[in-house]
């Protein structure tokens, strides 16, 4: 999942970015409203954590401009303003959630996760594809009831694919949502991760779950229609 974090306080920005990254999110950072607008309009984020009092363009204005542009990315407002009217203002201007400073880090992470789940209309914290189960809260993966050891990247990859079962997910989408901008566009980091993932989830049950659509991307589903017809 890729998250845009907009916060003008350097310390808070870096701390939250570190926490989000350690929780498995790809995080982009912005320190002011202009930078936030630029990033939000040029990238697809699963969620935006947006401070209200920002230099150059304030957070509510950023939110309004994004909504006017038709950008429906879920936004969590992060602010020191706790008056009811401030919350109402924020929500009426298109925010999806509101968190008042100081906040619990766990609460922030839970809310960001909930917003990301809403992107894929998923309400249950557990995703099931055939005998594969992805527990998004415990961040565990089970195949045929057996736990599978995965790296953080591999987990994020399977979770991202599991959010879109049966859909073709392109390499570019995977790169955008799982990896930071630093990866080399020419690298085969996605293919390598898919290959490694296939091996690990194939241990408990060799039936393939991740299918390649040549030139298009990958599909996670219990049985490939093409395989079924053969």
């Amino acid at each position: 999942m890729r998250v845009l974090l907009v916060e003008d306080s350097h310390r808070l920005r870096e701390t939250l970015a570190s926490a989000l990254r350690r929780s498995g999110y790809a995080v982009d950072l912005a320190a002011d409203g202009e930078e936030a607008l630029s990033l939000a309009t040029s990238n697809a984020y699963d969620a935006i954590v947006l401070d209200i009092m920002l230099p150059k363009v304030d957070g509510l204005e950023v939110l309004q401009r994004l909504r006017r542009q038709g950008n429906a990315t879920h936004v969590l407002l992060l602010t020191a303003r706790d008056a009811v009217q401030d919350r109402v203002d924020g929500l009426q201007k298109g925010a999806d959630d509101y968190l008042v400073k100081p906040f619990s880090l766990e609460e922030l992470l839970a809310r960001v996760q909930a917003l990301c789940r809403r992107v894929y209309n998923q309400k249950e914290p557990s995703l099931k594809i055939g005998d594969l189960e992805v527990d998004t809260v415990g961040r565990r993966v089970l195949r045929a009831g057996q736990p599978i050891e995965l790296t953080m990247r591999e987990y994020l990859l399977i979770e991202y694919l599991a959010h879109r079962p049966g859909q073709i997910v392109s390499r570019a989408e995977i790169e955008a949502h799982i990896y930071d901008d630093q990866i080399d566009p020419m690298s085969n980091v996605v293919d390598s991760a898919i290959c490694s993932l296939r091996k690990k989830i194939g241990t408990a049950n060799p039936a393939p779950l991740i299918h390649t659509r040549r030139g298009l991307g990958y599909v996670l589903e219990a049985a490939s229609p093409l395989v079924a017809t053969l």
Binding site: D8, S9, H10, R11, L12, T15, L16, S18, A19, R22, A31, D32, D51, M53, L54, P55, D58, A80, R81, D82, A83, V100, K101, P102, F103, S104, L105, E106
Partner: protein, 477 residues
Amino acid sequence: MNSIRLRLTRKLLLGLVLLLGAGLLTIYLSVRAALVTEFDNALWTKALAVTTGTEQEADRFSVRFSDRFMRGFDNQVATDFFEIWGVDGTVVGRSRMIEGFDLPRRIGSFDSPKYWNFRLDSGLPVRGIGFDFTPRLAPRLPKTTPRAKLSLVVAVDRHPLIETLFKLKLIIGGCGVLLLGATVGLLRPILRTELHPLERLGEQAARITADSLATRFPVDVLPTELVPIATRLNDLLARLQESFERERRFSADLAHELRTPLAELRSLAECAIKWPDSRNPSTDEEIVAIAAHMEGMVRRMLVLAHSERGQLALCREDIAIGPMVDAVWRPLAERAEGKRLRATFAIQPAAVSADPVLLRSILANLYDNAVEYSPSGGEISTVVLPAGDRISLSITNSVEGFTEADSRKLFDRFWRKEASRTGHEHSGLGLSLAREFSRAMDFELTAAFDQGRLTFTLVGVRGSLTGLAVAESQFVI
């Protein structure tokens, strides 16, 4: 109920009743007087007719009525009566209808007869006239015959006059009642219409709450008498709104100032607990820096609170202004050079009577702001001008993106041009403190913005250079 409309209605009606009553009474009395005069003229004419018909004969007097005018004395009509007395009071003649009783005898002179109302024994209301007269001599008597003097009283039935006056009373009274009714009918809608702006003003004022201080009374449509009230109310509302907004902004700013470092602290701590490997020496340094920032802010707020309550202990002394400016500016000079700022000083040798700690704090804040917010390559100028027993110090610097409206908020606590609090170097309390320190010393600190240049002027009490070191007193930067 203490209502202006009700009170106006009552008082206007009372005034109207009094005026109308007085007017109608005057009309009645005038008409009555005219009618009575006319009646008296007729009475006088009849009395004259009686005197004309009275003749003195040799040993008696005779009264003759010949024309129709005297028919009232006739028994059949019986509306007019007369009685004539001689000098000795003997009755020499009277109407037949008053045989058996006398008319009351009130006698005036011929030129000034007496008129009065009375009732006959029969109960008939009459008006009488009485005067002395000399009858004419019968033609056969010689001219030398001594002339007798007689007294005459003529009474005429007053019924026609009474009836006429009664009708007059009815007409005038009826007119009065009609006029009063019509006035009451007109007065209510007129008062309602004319007092409507006042009522509307009152209703509008009653609807104003802390959440609707942006309301303004429409002055253009109000009557002239209400314009000053509405204008003053609008001014008051504007000040209240500004005051409320300032307080709201202060609360929000204070919350932000405290909540953001708290959020930083909490996030750092929770991150270190959740991912112990994320903790490193820089984390602890960050926590110390946040704590120092919060401590500084609390300290400033306490000083500000003390200053606002007048609890600052002053130690006033004469201070040479030149060396003080030099001491404050010198530590900032390097930063100013880094931004290629040009500093100019025009300082006349003078002293100021001030607390050195507070004055240094004010100047340090003003110069720090000037260096911080002047654009690269800008200019900071200082002018000190003694004038009488006062001394003024002005610091002017160029600013960018600043507006006239901003200059009015400069001394608000936590106000900063940028609504966000990026960076922690400035808390937004410095200028509030500078102004409070100025007030504590009876100084005046003001800000003015003109054509891209912001000027702070500090005006204070001039001190004496006597006793200060020569080098200090003649110091000019």
